[in-house]
Amino acid sequence: MRFHVVHKLVSYLLAIAAVATLVSTGTVPIPTLGLLLVFGVVSWFVEPGNRLGRLLDRAELVFNLGALAFFAVSLYEVVRSFPEPDLTPVLNLVLFLLVYKLLHRRSNRDYLQVYVLSFLVVLAGAWLAQTVLFVIGFCSYVVIATWTLILFHLRHEIEDNYLVKHLPDSAEKVTAARVLNSRRVVGRSFFLVTGLVGVAVLVGAALVFAMVPRVGLGFLSGATRRRMSIVGFSDEVTLGQHGVISRDNETVVLRAQVPHIADVKDAEDRWRTISTLYWRGTVYDRYEQGQWVRSRRSVNATALTRVPTATGGWAYMLDPSELQARRRNSGTVLKESQKQIIQVVGLSFPVAFALDQPVAFEMIPPLMGSFVTTDFSGKFSGEVALKPIRMFPSGRTDTLSEFNGGQYIAYSRSPAPRAGVGKEAVALPPALLASYLDVPAAISPRMRDLARTIVANSATPMAKVQAVTEWLRKTHSYTVDLKRDTTIADPLEDFLFKQNAGHCEYFASAAAILLRLAGVPTRYINGFLGGEWNDIGKHITVRDNRAHSWVEAYLGTFGWVRVDATPVSSQAAPMGRIAQLFDAIELFWAQWVILYDASRQLDIAKRIGKGLGMGGAKRGSTGWKPDKRLIWVVAGLAGLIMIARYVKQRGWRRGRGAGARLRGGPAIFRLYRRVLDRLAARGWSRQPAETPAEFAARLARVKVPGADVLTRLSSLYAAARYGERDIPEATVTELTDAIDQIAEGRTNADGDPPAAAA
């Protein structure tokens, strides 16, 4: 293939790979992608001088005005989004400019701008990407970028050398066009070898990625990182908005390794067990006009008690009073509980999920030297939040505003009958119970009547729960195709008396309010139901389409009991083998790329150290603490080495560099260099291929003032440089004066106007 065609092809491939990295983030809407594709294909056929090219040249003003308008709109959008700037318009502008430049490929500079814009697109992709799809685009980008940069450099050199350096009268004249049309410059072996270089660059990138310390300084605050593919658990649940239970959203929310599930040998049994797992997340206690919110009363606050674990770490126990009442120690409770190692992947709201009836949460302690970790904080009504924090060497900690996922261990009550159930009641304070019995004052009388009717024959709380659940399942059906009669103010009333169909939010809300009206304390829970077993990664993957709502009812000696009034709906299909493979890759990607941090770095370093027989401190122990003086000495030495290298480089350059060659040496050299610098500053640069005499002649031809002085200076310079003649100091002084006079605006000896030349 001809050189210029190859260059054009790889340039387009580079742009495509860059856009692919951005597309992998899911931020590029389909129409935008379509437009990019159409204009990109059209741009391929636009060449300077052909019909399309001429057409575009004629419409250049329109295009430029369009670009200007696009820029203005983007700027306005960004400014409007302050103080939290949304950079999406900037991204759109970059994509627009990319296409614009592809349509206006005229010179090497246009190609260079295409590369710069492509790089910006990749940066945006890196900023936004969460999934492993990014890496496919990125790998392609790296290999193609290697080809493109090499070919661009060669093209630049071809045009520079064959057009400029060989003068028209030279026997060596070769036209650049002939070389650019050559098929012999690059071939298959070239792409093979440079492709291998691209792969090596990828390996290098991976090494740098693994080794650069993750310190997360956060010195500068920038635009909020817009996370894609996240699930919005928020401070309130509005009935009918269908935000949480999107059946089409297959975004992975969390992945959990549950040892007791992994131990199940029979696949059918395992699938059945997994499908009944309730992943408890957010908890709400107040209902108002179709909305569940947290009352945030202090009496409802979740108390967390720090207890030691068997591994030497620390766990936070929920409801320690129950422990005391049952006279059991925390170690025993944790041992008897179901352990889950949970990795939160895509949650904007940092909720600590756990299987139903969580007992405790344990954070995997960061290794020494880690700067960022996650802690737990109690919310309300037994809800626990994840709190990302930054640790400083001084011991101070700051809470980070952004949660980028995390990993922790949760302990939940075993499904086996609990010891002590039915024997000793753990009485909740009346004030606390009252908050879970709250119903809106404006609740309609017919709802009160309905509740009374349903539980008329139920004496115990348990019986009331059964009655309400059975009634709801009997009289209402499950649907995600919600209908709404807006003449009824409360959507719950509409669900109960008019629509008779709804999804889990309605069933849970109905159960909670009806039970409260019947005198049973309840709270509304949001979480996930079930999951998909990944046989490759031996973990459970929970996606957003498994979002679910249910109720917890307080049943005296039974404590808080899960009540799910929603009829059984169709379950999401289990993952296929390929889907499992991708999911396992995603888990690896999330654990080792997205969530790769200082802890993992230190872990790897320790493993390598152990492999080398260097040993290491145990996790959780105080370990090796470097002496501060040693740190200062090492830092000082490093600084000295850097300064010495810098000084050496400077001196070396001064002594030997191309420009320095002129700066040093005889006075005539320095004077000539000075004049060249001044001329360059005024737009008269000497071309690399021009001799001093040719340069002076060129300036004389275009009648640059002061050219006569330059001609004389050039002649003397050439005599000194190549003839090794000594130029008398008086001559140099005379020339210097003449040049200074011209530079200061005085006329030269010939009466010329002030010189641009000097």
Binding site: V122, L123, G125, A126, W127, F134, F138, A145, T146, L149, I150, F152, H153, L154, H156, E157, N161, K165, L167, S170, A171, R184, V185, V193, T194, V197, V201, G204, A205, A206, L207, V208, F209, V212, R214, V215, G216, L217, G218, G222, R225, V372, V593, I594, Y596, R653, R656, G657, A658, R661, P688, T691, P692, A718, A719, R721, Y722, G723, E724, R725
Partner: protein, 350 residues
């Protein structure tokens, strides 16, 4: 100066500085924001820099550079210096190579560019250059450099390739009329017996020393005295170019005048040799016997290339008998043609 083959220079280019600055910015952004994928981009950029260093090193390895100088080089006249590069690598080609010739350890301004040197192959190109000073010029080696693969750095190394180039004096145009007038003057005043091959000019009485073969027998018989034939053609005439360097005034002006005189002497000698004369040279302690042909021109030019200005008057070398003198004096614009001297040394003019 001995080159150190392991020594490399790799100053970043303008594009390289931009790339380094961008790399630094991306690295800072990654550290600041803690976005892991930015670390990946940062890693890619660092790896590209490393790859650039490795590939440029491979480009500069196993190259043999040789110089192909022209047969004659005159001061002040541009010439083409051939530079051949052989890629000694077995598999890898070398791309985008620039070669700078080092003249007294300083690179000349013109560079030779080689877009692609396939493995095991050689290519030759030339650079145009001009040397202002006659005499010996020492080429010490080559600086080979490349900006391949990405144009971020210009990596270069120097290799030893010592060579001497003798630059002949600048040839200045000597008007044909001057040569003709000078030779005509010599023709009137010099015994023309040695010029038998030219066009017939006239007859004169035989003098002692004339070649008897030049006697015009018909006229001699008619007049009763021996007459010889004279020819216009100078071919066969013997001249010695005499450079009177010691007559230059001391100081830089004298130096310049001496150089001009050397150029004039060389130009006149070449012009006379082109006319088929036997030309010799006397300058300072140099004494080249008269001869004709291209080889003599080379010898005279080389001698004049290396002649130095004599400060003190030297003992003049003997002028061959019968040779005319072309006297070149510093400061004089034209040579002075003088008839042959009968043996002995050169007559000094006042």
């Amino acid at each position: 100066m001995k080159k150190r083959p392991w020594q490399r220079r790799f100053p970043p280019t303008r594009e390289g500085w931009w790339f380094l600055a961008t790399t630094l910015l991306v690295g800072m952004a990654a550290v600041n924001a803690g976005v892991n994928l930015l670390f990946l981009v940062f890693g890619m950029m660092l790896a590209l820099i490393v790859a650039s260093g490795v590939m440029s090193e491979l480009c500069l390895r196993d190259l043999v550079v040789t110089r192909r100088p022209p047969s004659t080089v005159h001061a002040g006249a541009p010439f083409l210096m051939g530079v051949a590069v052989r890629n000694g690598k077995r598999q890898l080609p070398t791309f985008s190579l620039e070669v700078e010739d080092l003249l007294a350890d300083r690179p000349v301004e013109r560079r030779c560019y080689y877009l692609k040197l396939p493995a095991g192959r050689a290519q030759e190109t030339a650079y145009k250059h001009m040397l202002g000073r006659r005499g010996r010029h020492q080429f010490t080696g080559f600086r080979i450099s490349t900006r391949f693969p990405f144009g971020f750095i210009r990596k270069s190394r120097e290799i030893d390739a010592p060579a001497e180039l003798v630059v002949y004096p600048a040839l200045i145009p000597v008007p044909e009329s001057v040569i003709r007038a000078g030779l005509a003057e010599l023709g009137r005043r010099q015994d023309p017996s040695r010029s038998r091959s030219g066009d017939f000019h006239g007859l004169r009485e035989f003098r002692s020393g004339d070649d008897p073969r030049d006697i015009h027998w018909r006229t001699s018989a008619k007049r009763g005295r021996a007459f010889v034939r004279e020819c216009e053609e100078e071919t066969g005439m013997t001249v010695v170019v005499l450079l009177e360097g010691e007559r230059a005034v001391p100081g830089p002006e004298g130096d310049a005048a001496f150089e001009d005189a050397v150029s004039l002497a060389a130009s006149v000698a070449v012009a006379l040799l082109r006319k088929g004369l036997n030309v010799g040279l006397h300058a300072a302690d140099i004494g080249l016997p008269p001869a004709s042909g291209g080889m003599q021109a080379t010898q005279i030019l080389r001698a004049l290339a290396l002649v130095e200005r004599a400060d003190a008057e030297r003992t003049p070398a003997p002028i061959p008998p019968g040779a005319a003198i072309v006297r070149v004096t510093p400061g004089a614009l034209l040579p002075r043609f003088e008839p042959a001297v009968r043996g002995g040394s050169v007559r000094r003019t006042a």
